[in-house]
């Protein structure tokens, strides 16, 4: 009877793992199957043509711009905020409130942020429907993610490192820069990668703040269309599943490339510090 239970549990565990991986493979497989015929050099690097048959290069550029600007703003602010909350602030009611607020912010639907961005950045700050408006909105969306993951990463740094460093007559700042931040690099990095995923996956908030202009943006103040928004529009307007799937492939590859380069850069940074 006991072995039966054991086997049953084992089967259940295996089944759950299989279902998870299976669904993922199914989705990725389906997208590749549907879309791979469209993938070629001209499709990725060609300019968009409103009459059909063109490439998606403007959307790729817009997507990369959006990711870059959002992360450039959100990462330093998020890390500094987390360092303050975790290392400097007195652990009291104020810090608890701030933590609760950041946690709540991660749960708000992105369309709400989109509406805020459309009112505040687009209209009030007169940035217009533009890449910069979308990026600023996305910054607010990913900021809680960066803060939370960085805080968790800082928490995992053993107290013995802090003590060891301070006992050597270093200042708190030196300890932070030389020991604590390098040790929490992997956690911080996973926060950045999560944020990239969030940015790439976002459509509603971008739709409302950057618009849908399907052309190469002349600057970050131009209205433009990201890959995700493009995929949404071609599916919705033209019902072109094949094209949407091809965009999906590009998105998946883009995410992989960005993740690998983020890991690579952080490894380089770590080496340089030692």
């Amino acid at each position: 009877m006991r072995t039966f239970k054991d086997n049953l549990l084992r089967g259940l565990l295996w089944f759950s793992a299989f279902v998870t991986v299976g669904i993922l493979l199914l989705i990725v497989g389906y997208i590749f199957y549907k879309g791979f015929r469209l993938i070629n050099f001209e499709f990725i690097f060609g300019d968009y043509s409103p009459t059909g048959g063109g490439g998606i290069w403007p959307m790729v550029v817009t997507t990369v711009y959006t990711i870059a600007i959002s992360l450039v703003i959100a990462t330093p602010i998020g890390i500094l905020a987390a360092v303050y909350l975790q290392e400097y602030a007195k652990q009291g009611r104020l810090v608890k409130t701030i933590r609760f607020a950041t946690e709540s912010l991660t749960g708000i639907p992105s369309i709400i942020y989109g509406l805020f961005g459309a009112v505040f950045f687009v209209t009030t700050l007169k940035l217009g429907m533009s890449i910069i408006s979308a990026s600023l909105t996305l910054t607010i969306i990913v900021l809680p993610v960066v803060i939370r993951t960085t805080e968790e990463a800082l928490k995992t740094v053993p107290g013995a490192y802090r003590e060891g460093s301070l006992a050597l007559g270093t200042t708190k700042l030196q300890t932070l820069i030389k020991v604590i931040l390098p040790s929490s690099m992997p956690g911080i990095l996973s926060g950045i990668i999560l944020s990239m995923g969030r940015i790439i996956g976002e459509s509603a908030a971008i739709f409302l703040t950057a618009g849908t202009v399907a052309a190469m943006p002349s600057s970050i103040f131009s209205s433009a269309r990201t890959l995700t928004v493009h995929a949404f529009l071609v599916t919705q307007e033209a019902g072109d599943i094949e094209l949407a799937a091809a965009i999906g492939i590009v998105l998946i590859v883009l995410i992989l490339v960005l993740n690998f380069s983020a890991t690579f850069i952080s490894k380089k940074l770590n080496k340089a510090d030692y």
């Binding site: 802090r162 006992a167 050597l168 007559g169 390098p182």
Partner: protein, 255 residues
């Protein structure tokens, strides 16, 4: 030995310490002699580690710690001055568990000097080699200075920790049960090292192990419930204790 000529490196007077409302040390007074090994013994929770950590103000890191009394190191009251950095440069510390940073052996030892602003490669090389030699671990690690310090055995790590402390050229080294996480052979090596180090440094060591206190120290202080019960030349404490409680403890009747 002429006792009256010995100079007190550290002079503690009437030191009391509170964690919030809870008192952990009760007017402790103690003179620690230069270039001697002073052992602090006593049962768990008797305040010996807490006392040790007042000497380089590590207790400052804990919220709600309050201290009264004086600790004078080289004629300077360390709680009157606000230069904790300077104090910790002068008073090094080795912890219970080896706590090397996840960096190379070289970078661990060079960590303190670099933080002080020493950038010159040659100078750093020299400090690292001298410190590792001083901690009797140079021969074991000289070919792998650039590899991770965390790949060393526990005993080796603890000696690199000692090297890291020496690299700051301190006067005093505090050791908080430095061998409690080590095997007997590594323990022996660290004890031999302590005997070497006392030629140059004043050492204060907290230990659970009474044989260790008897082996390595010149003077021993017996702590019980936050008070010093007896403080004397180590031999006297172990073979001819004056207080009944000391005798009970060193003969293993409690603790």
């Amino acid at each position: 030995m002429n006792q009256s000529e010995e100079t007190a490196k550290i002079s503690v007077k009437d030191l009391s310490l509170f964690y919030g409302d809870k008192q952990a040390l009760y007017s402790v007074s103690l003179d620690i002699e230069e270039k001697k090994v002073t052992a602090l013994i006593g049962p768990s929770g008797c305040g010996k580690s807490t006392f040790l950590r007042t000497l380089n103000r590590m207790n400052d890191l804990i919220d709600g710690v309050k201290i009264t009394g004086d600790i004078v190191v080289d004629n300077e009251d360390i709680y009157k001055s606000n230069d904790v950095i300077k104090l910790r440069t002068k008073v090094g510390m080795v912890f219970q568990k080896p706590n090397l940073f996840p960096m190379s052996i070289y970078d661990n030892v060079a960590y303190g000097p670099r933080a002080q602003g020493i950038k010159n490669k040659k100078e750093l090389n020299k400090i690292v080699e001298e410190s590792l030699r001083g901690a009797a671990i140079w021969d074991e690690v000289k070919d792998r200075l650039k590899s991770s310090a965390l790949g060393l055995s526990g005993g080796q790590q603890q000696r690199v920790c000692i090297a890291r402390a020496i690299a700051m050229k301190p006067d005093i080294i505090l050791m908080d049960e430095p061998t409690s996480a080590l095997d007997p052979i590594s323990t022996l090596k660290v004890e031999e090292l302590i005997a070497q180090l006392k030629k140059e440094y004043t050492i204060v060591i907290v230990t659970h192990n009474m044989q260790q206190a008897a082996r390595v120290s010149d003077k021993t202080a017996f702590f019980l419930s936050g008070e010093i019960i007896e403080y004397d030349v180590t031999n006297n404490v172990f073979s001819n204790p004056k207080d009944q409680r000391t005798e009970d403890y060193v003969t293993g009747r409690f603790g």
